[in-house]
Subunit: 292 residues, 4 copies
Amino acid sequence: MNLPTIEDTYAEAFKTKAAHILITAATKRYALIAATEATGFATSFIGCPAEAGIDEYFPPEKTPDNRPGFSVIICQNKTDNLKEQLLERMGQCILTAPTTAVFNLVEDGGDVDNLGFKLAFFADGYQEKIEKYDRQMYKIPVMSGDFLIEENFGITDAVAGGNLFIMAKTQSSALIAAENAVNAIRSVPGVITPFPGGIVASGSKVGSKKYKFMHATTNEKYCPTLKDKVETQLPDDVNGVYEIVFDGLNEEVINEATQKAIDAIKTVPDVVKVSAGNYGGNLGKYKINLIG
Amino acid sequence: MNLPTIEDTYAEAFKTKAAHILITAATKRYALIAATEATGFATSFIGCPAEAGIDEYFPPEKTPDNRPGFSVIICQNKTDNLKEQLLERMGQCILTAPTTAVFNLVEDGGDVDNLGFKLAFFADGYQEKIEKYDRQMYKIPVMSGDFLIEENFGITDAVAGGNLFIMAKTQSSALIAAENAVNAIRSVPGVITPFPGGIVASGSKVGSKKYKFMHATTNEKYCPTLKDKVETQLPDDVNGVYEIVFDGLNEEVINEATQKAIDAIKTVPDVVKVSAGNYGGNLGKYKINLIG
Amino acid sequence: MNLPTIEDTYAEAFKTKAAHILITAATKRYALIAATEATGFATSFIGCPAEAGIDEYFPPEKTPDNRPGFSVIICQNKTDNLKEQLLERMGQCILTAPTTAVFNLVEDGGDVDNLGFKLAFFADGYQEKIEKYDRQMYKIPVMSGDFLIEENFGITDAVAGGNLFIMAKTQSSALIAAENAVNAIRSVPGVITPFPGGIVASGSKVGSKKYKFMHATTNEKYCPTLKDKVETQLPDDVNGVYEIVFDGLNEEVINEATQKAIDAIKTVPDVVKVSAGNYGGNLGKYKINLIG
Amino acid sequence: MNLPTIEDTYAEAFKTKAAHILITAATKRYALIAATEATGFATSFIGCPAEAGIDEYFPPEKTPDNRPGFSVIICQNKTDNLKEQLLERMGQCILTAPTTAVFNLVEDGGDVDNLGFKLAFFADGYQEKIEKYDRQMYKIPVMSGDFLIEENFGITDAVAGGNLFIMAKTQSSALIAAENAVNAIRSVPGVITPFPGGIVASGSKVGSKKYKFMHATTNEKYCPTLKDKVETQLPDDVNGVYEIVFDGLNEEVINEATQKAIDAIKTVPDVVKVSAGNYGGNLGKYKINLIG
């Protein structure tokens, strides 16, 4: 099996703000349902109110209430917008989900949002502040029983825009490689892949050559069907390209995810080349090298 | 097995606006991934930018491009907000998803959004308007190949707020019955269950007794842990309650879904009573009777 | 997109015996769990005690007990072996599964197995024969409640060995096409795809050129990595091949499944050719033409 | 929330033989598909040819070929039967599954089965013995490419029959608790839960009071619907019981799984009592105490 060429370049990532929360439920499946809804419609800052994704599974022995859970990361470039998103996504997608409870996972001494206090107004006066699991919690009576939420949630610095381009002989080969890369990235704690299935079919460039009102448009140099019309960046035998985009709690995990993704891509046949998107360092402060 | 009491009451539903679209992909699984992301963070108008959900599976022989697909319904009370949501959810969650194409399913002569035209600016001049599958389509070159989207999407009247309360001896019995009811509702074409897993753990009343700034608060009369503190509506032996909320393309499908859900609930042991939420007819124009 | 060549040949299928049963449960998910276990280790008569697979989902309104269910088909070439397999798979994989009940779906006047009567000995004298859902049923008290099973299960003639070969430019393209073909085949009521995920990675020829004790060995003429060592049947640009194998209740559904599979394969890029396996008519009595 | 009573008793487990193998594939999902088929129809020695189940997920960095994988455990009381089951399940359910490879995980110096050598006859003379991943492997050309399998697979001693009885106020509460217990048990490396969804709805006693030809019959003392007809072991308020059965590579992991399962059960409301099945020490050599 021929291994793909790894281009000696870097992905350009940038600073963002993130919340890191833990959703537990009566069963693993119900925790996953809540986490999925809470992180939906959150692929890209360009058109979504947040970037969000499921981080990792927490087995019962690692959660405060000894129930299975999933951690999720929700990102926004502005702290105020993040707080608003947190309130809406928790209130609409986690409080409403069967048997859930929700905990803060950010431990550093940064900004804090008293989300539990705010959400507890839903209890219409029947809320109770309690100490439980060595945490300050709010208890909110709901139809299915009591909903428990931690009082304070930390807001932390994070890194958005980790990315890889996977170029393969066929669209399907690029797709299988992309699926495998996403799986590898998701195994790194503290990293999420916010796009559908973690994969971007329509990688974009910043701005537009033709339409001033567009903030992002198709990256034509990587489009297989435009090979004859533009100065293509695609090798001759490449007919399918997928981008993977990932956000993480710090630069280290983005680097780790990048390397694990490349290792995963290498195991899939018919991948020709792996590259990444950058803008000469103008967009973000982090350079994530593909070749360590 | 004792059958639950079906209360002789009605769910109060109201008029909304909806888009009904079809997402196809290379495989059923990729169509589902796109449909899930596109309908995420969309449980309730109260705090989400839309109510949305997956409608039904379309086998290949029923789709324009002969590929497997899922239809989704996206609702908003104002047409302009709906158009904005459509553009963002399609642009961020479907255009970006691997191998997808997207088609309009609304055939009536109402309002139309030329969403395909708008989204095609992403192609930065490389878009092409083509006739294909007997439809006016836009072809947008992207990294994975070409993305196809229909030019016009209809906006139709729809019905939101179909609902049922399931009261059972234990929380788990109410949960299994709720899961079964959601399954039955989802089998009705044209109906969606926008909440996480289709189930609402924290059914609400309109407004608040205590906090003027709250638009919706816990429905304390149906909270098992408040039985001793409020004038409860719960029978003595009820310890768990879940609400099901569903939206549909017209009153008939909401009625059909209601009856199928009740039939499904009846097959689960230990359910005591089924009721529904209404506000004396002040909120919505539709009365969905539980007892036909 | 270039369409694949459909070879003007036929798949050679043969007569077998089948049971067609319906498994219902408290929820759709539990019905699926039971159906999956009951049809496991059942890919091929060559080394498995049966060929079996999930047929279709039955919504609540189409099942005798108004609960969601899945039908499964279990095949064996000898009636006695089929009866033994039925008893073991029902006793070990359905009776043991949470909340299940099981019904007969074969209505023709052929051979009958009083499986319900036999399985009811498990109740150790506490079994009861009852009439319910207009059927003769046995009620078996178990830890979770009562298990209900119909008394008699029909054994019917069926057709095994429907098949297709999918040849593509890359292994991944063949795989995506195979997944899509399986999905299309599964949408035909009365047809199952018994192999893992419905796909055969290691299609075989009957017998062996080298080892007399082998009943089936690799089909070297279709192996991409043997192109240079054997008289290959593979076009130059083919690097991946998957076979799909399917069994059905009659010749008509096998024909329908074949055509739907071919239609599905045509929608996936980079497939070069579609063919099928036959043995000059020596193995089976049915010739399933690829080109209608 | 009231915690269940944990009965001061023990589960009686017994010695068996096991293989422990690792299935890798191009993606996590294909590895799971192969593992599921290979461990199907394998709930209980009473009527199945083996007990088998999925052990744990192996991320790419922990597998020899750097691809995602799942380990499975296959048990049989006799070594010869186990070898036969291994050959059949590997040949029919793993060799046939898309993109798989298979490795041995048993490292102790016990009995060895040269399964790779045997299975390689399928290649009809085109097989090759190679050294790869620091292992002796066989390469078998198949339609989708090359299938790789390790030459030797170890047979190890193992422990079967770990078990728990979960008694709850309603069937649904017992079911949710059982699902949670299974999830906890599955998180222990080296332990499998062979029944459908890991749960036993129809726990049995050894032998029969009434039918000499029956090796196992319903455990009537734990059947809720027989409370009035037998000397019941069920507390008054118990209406649903599920048993969990698990096998493991040694006594330690069975003990660990038991404790984790009990912890998981305690988080689900309306469970009344947890017990286990034993036969006064006559059946097996291991006593797995519920109360450490």
